[in-house]
């Protein structure tokens, strides 16, 4: 299958066996569950090995995808030449139309209905390959971190099993060639988040958080099911006719959405329903309330969940089905879209919430929500590439921040996450963690030249460039808030005087009220947390672990914790160079690797060149060819220059061709805009640093903030502290209403109306029987009447005694009833 001719796209073993990347973790999950406890490392070795294998495969896939993309532009590709990921070869002079690179699809029959067969398998496109690699990479590092972090936990094996399956679920979803497989991966992640957030389920708070996470996401999933159904019926006929595919196939859906033949109602309702699912999964307003509670899980879980998996799933869904949203919401026309509005609201409300959190992980959780808002904002305004790029960069620095938080709690604050009570002044004790944290913070806030700068700035720039000036200012405002709340968190954690555990105090359990979940893993410190036996068990594993805390106080973490952190910090520093748009004018477009390899081209492709991606009899290897239709090239020619006017996503493609991606615009980077956003962020930093020093520095013993002195501030504080009262609405009003009065009312209706009717009917029959026996049977000697009376009497007896179910009586009753029924029927038919 390696490309032999210049006209063909190259493929390769890795691209065609992408499915292995997801299969390996899923099989490993089963292996860990089955054998993990008997292995020397309690199953963690299987988890690590599987993630490593997935990473190797994903890297191979990425390299082959790059080769495939390069092969499209003509003969100069050199097969077998290894290229570092993200490093490109000189090619594609400016202005040349990039052909559409077909995904490599590979499916088996999974289920069928009537003549249609639906597949399961893998689809490798630029977007999915990028994220597959990312997820495998982050998962591996998180698992390495977990080795030490959750060591000695009583469910160590289960933890590794669940976290491996969790990554597997995300990988399944990323490579999904159709919507049903996407749902599969999506829900596997939901399940694993339930298991992992509720990892320490002995405490009710944790099990409630797990339930809440699953349940909230599930509410959004109604949208996923309904949206998939709508899109299926909208796209199916078109897909079957034109692409020999079906309405679940993601490529077919993309092409259908841009075909100009898609019914706008299908598109609109489908897109709205799907986006509701994304709101739930990606923690967008107003379903973001589950995310902070999800911090009840172990820190590596939070780290994985918030960087590259789970919450990114919603963003990925929008990015993957972008043509649907593009068309449904008229993104190309510069309409103010549902997606952009939700994204913008989320940026601000989540960032504000981050200011009132005392728990370092909750600050980061809201920060994630806010950053996801940026991604949605980008997608909602046509800035597809920056949004996807932000997924990429965000994963590194957010994962790093969470791991730093984990490192702090593990070695610095004695398993507490409370910044005000148990942290402070840790920069000297934990220099490496501190450095990594600072790098990641600078990346998160978008400071040049850290990773976040290249992606976030691009989002803001493109939002403005596409005509959404107000939203651009929202984005800038969000950047100020980001700088401010991260300054607060940094100050409270690493600067000032050490407090509580960070000062080496181990004053019992007082400080742990909110964080007892972390303590459970320590066991010995929490006599009330479990039965005696469990404690004994916990203590066995933890003696050494706790001793060194007691003696040393805060100290730097061990190598297993630090290595992943350092690697991530490295990426937080340099990952932005994968697509440094502002440098393109100087170094040529070639350095924008993301643009070249990840963003699908909006060039139309002839139908006959699109290989059907539905499942065939067996393995189907896709042997894609580039469309060389002159019309098509002409249609897409105006992509860069003319702005919003023509090409895929604006005009219907020529008959016989299909588009798979709308022609999005890219903002020309300008020095002024960059300066503006950097200046804004710098101002945010300056104000925040001044504030922190003024308030926290001066009164460090009491940490009296502004809120205690001003009623207005106090009100605002409470409003934020209560998460805008959304949780109160959901839990106290909606859930309680359904779970209590409504459910109880239904039950009452069931028992007292429906069931009472049945009982009354039985009792009535018995009484009738008695009456008939007394009045008719005893007086009128008539065969037929006698018979039915006798039957009725037996019915009555039946209600009094169980043992009446003899065949003869039963048969008699039955045929009596049948006789009555037959009379009714005769009457009906005669009339």
């Amino acid at each position: 299958m390696l490309a032999a001719e210049a006209a063909q796209l190259s493929s390769g073993w890795f691209l065609e066996n992408v499915w292995l990347i997801a299969l390996i973790p899923i099989v490993s999950f089963a292996l860990i569950i089955a054998f993990g406890k008997h292995l020397p490392m309690k199953g963690s070795e299987i988890g690590l090995a599987s993630m490593f294998a997935s990473l190797v495969l994903a890297t191979g896939t990425a390299i082959q995808w790059i080769q495939r993309t390069n092969s499209a532009s003509g003969g100069e590709e050199s097969l077998g030449m290894l290229q570092a990921f993200g490093r490109s070869m000189p090619r594609a002079t400016e202005g040349e139309v990039q052909p559409f690179i077909e995904p490599v699809v590979h499916t088996w029959v999974w289920w069928s209905n009537g003549p249609l067969e639906f597949g399961i398998g893998s689809s490798a496109s630029g977007l999915s390959v990028l994220l597959l690699w990312l997820v495998a990479f982050i998962s591996l590092l998180v698992q390495v971190f977990s080795l030490d972090y959750v060591r000695g936990d009583r469910r160590y094996t289960h933890f590794f099993a669940a976290i491996t399956l969790f990554s597997g679920g995300m990988l399944v979803m990323l490579m999904a060639p159709n919507m049903v497989q996407l749902i599969l991966g999506w829900e596997i992640m939901g399940l694993c988040s339930f298991l992992l957030i509720g990892h320490w389920w002995e405490e009710e708070a944790n099990s409630r958080a797990a339930l809440k996470a699953f349940f909230t996401v599930r509410v959004g999933d109604v949208g996923l099911l309904v949206g998939t159904a709508i899109i299926f019926f909208g796209a199916n006929a078109w897909a079957v006719d034109n692409l020999d595919s079906n309405g679940f196939d993601i490529n077919a859906i993309q092409a259908w959405a841009l075909s100009g033949e898609a019914n706008s109602k299908f598109l609109l309702w489908g897109a709205i329903a799907l986006f509701i699912a994304c709101i739930g999964k990606s923690g967008q307003f107003p379903l973001h309330t589950w995310l902070p509670d999800a911090m009840a899980g172990p820190t590596p879980v939070s780290s994985l969940l918030h960087s590259s998996t789970m919450v990114v799933a919603g963003v990925f869904l929008v990015a993957q089905l972008y043509p649907v949203f593009w068309q449904a919401f008229d993104i190309g026309q510069g309409s103010l879209t549902f997606i952009a509005v939700i994204g913008a609201i989320t940026i601000i409300i989540a960032a504000l919430l981050a200011f009132v959190q005392d728990d370092i992980k909750k600050v980061l959780a809201y920060s994630t929500v806010s950053q996801l808002g940026y991604m949605m904002l980008g997608l909602g305004t046509g800035a597809w590439l920056p949004a996807v790029f932000h997924i990429f960069t965000h994963a590194f620095f957010k994962c790093c921040l969470f791991l730093c938080a984990g490192s702090v709690s593990h070695s610095g604050s004695h398993h507490s996450f409370d910044m005000k009570k148990d942290m402070g002044g840790l920069r000297k004790k934990m220099p490496i963690t501190f450095t990594a944290w600072i790098i990641s913070t600078l990346a998160l806030t978008g400071i040049f030249p850290f990773a976040g700068f290249w992606s976030k700035d691009e989002i803001i720039d493109n939002v403005g460039n596409n005509g959404y000036t107000f939203l651009m200012w929202v984005g800038l405002g969000g950047a100020v808030l980001t700088a401010a709340y991260m300054t607060r968190a940094t100050y409270l954690t690493f600067f000032g005087e050490p407090r509580g555990a960070a000062a080496g105090e181990h004053n019992g359990d007082e400080h742990s009220e909110e964080h007892e979940m972390e303590h459970i893993s320590v066991g010995a410190h929490e006599p009330r947390s479990l039965g005696a036996a469990a404690n004994a068990h916990g203590a066995d594993d933890h003696d050494a672990h706790d001793d060194h805390h007691a003696s040393d106080g805060p100290h730097e973490s061990g190598p297993l914790l630090l290595i992943p952190i350092v690697i991530l910090a490295f990426f937080a520093l340099f990952a932005g160079l994968a697509n440094p748009t502002p440098l393109a004018s100087r170094f040529g477009e070639g350095i924008e690797s993301m643009k070249k390899y990840v963003e699908p081209s909006s060039t139309p492709v002839a139908f006959e060149d699109v290989i059907a991606t539905g499942p065939g009899e067996s393995i189907m290897l896709v042997d894609g060819r580039v469309s060389a239709s002159p019309n098509a090239e002409g249609a897409a020619g105006g992509e860069e220059g003319a702005g919003h006017s023509s090409g895929c996503g604006f005009d219907a493609p020529e008959p016989g061709t299909a588009c798979f991606f709308p022609s999005v615009t890219h903002a020309e980077p300008s020095f002024n805009k960059i300066l503006l956003s950097l200046g804004v962020v710098a101002a945010g930093y300056a104000v925040a640093i001044a504030f922190n020093i003024a308030f926290y520095g001066r009164k460090n013993k009491h940490l009296v903030g502004l809120t205690e002195r001003s009623k207005v501030m106090r009100g605002g504080f409470l409003f934020l502290k209560n998460k805008y009262y959304l949780d109160a609405l959901y839990e106290n009003v909606i859930v309680r209403a359904v779970a209590h009065p409504i459910a109880k009312g239904t039950n009452w209706f069931n028992q007292n109306v429906l069931d009472a009717t049945v009982n009354a009917a039985g009792e009535g029959a018995r009484r009738t029987g008695v009456w008939v026996y007394d009045n008719i049977d005893q007086r009128i000697v008539d065969g037929a009447v006698d018979g039915s009376g006798w039957i009725a009497e037996e019915t009555g007896h039946g209600l009094q005694s169980t043992q009446s179910g003899k065949v003869s009586q039963y048969g008699a009753l039955l045929f009596g009833a049948a006789a009555v029924g037959a009379i009714v029927l005769v009457l009906v038919n005669v009339s």
Binding site: L225, G531, V738, G805
Partner: protein, 532 residues
């Protein structure tokens, strides 16, 4: 579509073989309990072996046609024939009934209900098996009816004799209620026979003849069948016998009831009511759809209100059968395929849930959710199995439940034969919301029973349990002293096939879809022809 008549002894042997065991057991004194159990299990095992042979003998490339077909005279006076055959629609249910009976019997080896008397208990289960298998193989209305009713008696006695405290009330209610429906069903059968002027009660014959009946008459006859089948399913508002029957029945009864008996109703719709009375079906479809969706929401709300674990699971059956009926009511291949899949999946999943409930009752002597807590600490494996079954039940993709639910919801988007789209789309959305409620009640149940720490009441007896959870590897056999012990070997043997089935069908649903699909496609195509 001519039926295939090769190896036509298979079905009769498979169905009536349990009677041999019954005959043998009759002559063995009641006191030899172990012998009775052994004979019962061996008989059921042999029956299942015949079933598995049937699976291999079945020609899957012709799954849409009747196979192993027999058409013999039976009661010539009323033109009732011994007509049996099996196509892809009935085969999985037929095998499921055999497997479930076998596994339930294994479970009974050391889990006899309190009333004892294994002789009677095992004989009843074998007779029940004859009735269930017979219902799925019958291709003649009278034969179908006989088998359909034959099922009632053993179940009646199982609930009435081996049941809980209110067993008499529950068993009688179950019996009378079902019979009430059956009466109407029988009338409908007879009316159908006379209306078509048919010369036989054979299904094929009536399907060809039934389409000619006048529209209004079809609607009336369908009404009769609807009552009979809807009570059995059970559909809202005819479901009230179900929670009582399930709650009071012994574990074995609950499992068989959930796994097989409820399917007799839905099977009747697919096999008899809809193909024979296409116009009636189209008229009734909206009613069925609406009642199905009411059942989904109503059942879910009912679950949320329950304080008893077993009763909660029983109510969840109402909700799940709602999805099955919703699929059927769309009259599409999607919907009916989903419904059939849902029937098998529900059988495995809810059967498993009832097994767990039975074992919980056995250990804690209560099923009150309030009193149960921390099952994962005291009996971790049992807790995990409950969690697994709950996840399957709420329709997690990758497990069997999803494939009954999702395509059923999907199918409601575009119902067949001019059924009202706005109505069915509304139903679709409501049904999708039902999946959220399902997650709600199942996870809430799980959170309350499995998570947390064991309640004081049972913490005395949890020494063994904790030892289990911690020493994990060293399992087993210390349950003899009667505390809260984990899953026993017998339970593992009985449950593993359920668990494996749930996973295998969930991961590779095509296994079942490819068996159902030809028959269903043909059924829907024929409906299309008849309805023009």
């Amino acid at each position: 579509m001519e039926p295939l008549t090769d190896q036509n002894w298979l079905l009769s042997v498979g169905t009536f073989l349990p009677l041999v065991g019954v005959l043998v057991m009759m002559f063995i004194p009641r006191s030899e309990e172990a012998t009775h159990k052994l004979i019962g299990i061996v008989t059921a095992g042999a029956t299942l072996a015949v079933g598995i042979f049937t699976l291999f003998a079945f020609d899957y490339s012709k799954a849409g046609r009747l196979q192993f077909f027999v058409d013999a005279e039976w009661i010539p006076v009323i033109n009732a024939g011994y007509t049996v055959g099996m196509d892809g629609i009935s085969l999985p249910l037929y095998i499921l009934s055999m497997a479930v009976t076998f596994l339930v019997m294994i479970y009974s080896w050391d889990n006899m209900p309190d009333a004892g008397n294994p002789k009677a208990f095992f004989i009843l289960m074998l007779i029940l098996q004859v009735g269930m298998a017979g219902t799925f193989m019958a291709q003649d209305l009278i034969l179908f009816f006989v088998f359909f009713e034959l099922v009632l008696l053993p179940m009646f006695f199982m609930i009435g004799v081996w049941g809980g405290e209110q067993r008499k009330y529950a068993s009688l209610k179950f019996f009378l209620y079902t019979m009430f429906g059956s009466a109407f069903m029988l009338v409908a059968f007879i009316a159908l026979y006379f209306q078509t002027g048919a010369t036989s009660f054979g299904f094929q014959h009536l399907i060809e003849a039934g389409a000619g009946i006048d529209h209004n008459v079809q609607v009336w006859i369908f009404a009769g069948m609807f009552l009979g089948f809807a009570v059995k399913v059970p559909m809202f508002p005819f479901h009230t016998w179900l929670p009582d029957a399930h709650t009071q029945a012994p574990t074995q009864g609950s499992v068989i009831l959930a796994a097989i008996l409820l399917k007799l109703g839905t099977y009747g719709f697919v096999r008899i009511a809809i193909p024979m009375l296409p116009e009636g079906a189209v008229e009734w479809a909206p009613v069925i759809g609406i009642l199905a969706v009411i059942g989904i929401i109503y059942g879910a709300l009912g679950c949320l209100a329950q304080t008893d674990m077993k009763r909660l699971i029983a109510f969840s059956s109402v909700a799940h059968m709602g999805f099955v009926m919703l699929g059927i009511s769309t009259l599409t291949t999607f919907g009916i395929n989903a419904a059939l899949f849902g029937m098998v999946a529900h059988g495995l999943i809810t059967g498993m849930l009832f097994f767990v409930a039975g074992s919980v009752k056995h250990r804690y002597h209560t099923l009150e959710i309030k009193r149960l807590s921390g099952m994962l600490i005291q009996a971790p494996r049992l807790g995990w199995i409950l969690g697994f079954a709950a996840m399957a039940s709420l329709g997690l993709p990758g497990l069997a439940g999803f494939w009954g639910e999702f395509p059923a919801i999907l199918s409601a988007y575009s119902p067949n034969f001019g059924l009202s789209e706005p109505l069915f789309r509304t139903l679709m959305v409501i049904a999708a919301i039902g999946t959220v409620l399902a997650a709600g009640y199942l996870l809430w149940l799980y959170q309350r029973t499995a998570f947390g720490e064991p309640s004081e009441e049972f913490s005395d007896s949890h020494g063994a349990g904790v030892a289990h959870s911690l020493s994990s590897a060293a399992n087993d056999d210390d349950h003899a002293h009667g505390g809260i012990y984990d899953v026993t070997p017998i339970e593992w043997i009985a449950w593993t096939p359920f668990l494996v089935g749930i996973v295998v069908l969930g991961v590779y649903p095509q296994l079942l879809f490819k068996v159902f699909n030809p028959g269903v496609s043909e059924l829907v195509a024929r409906l299309g022809e008849t309805l023009g």
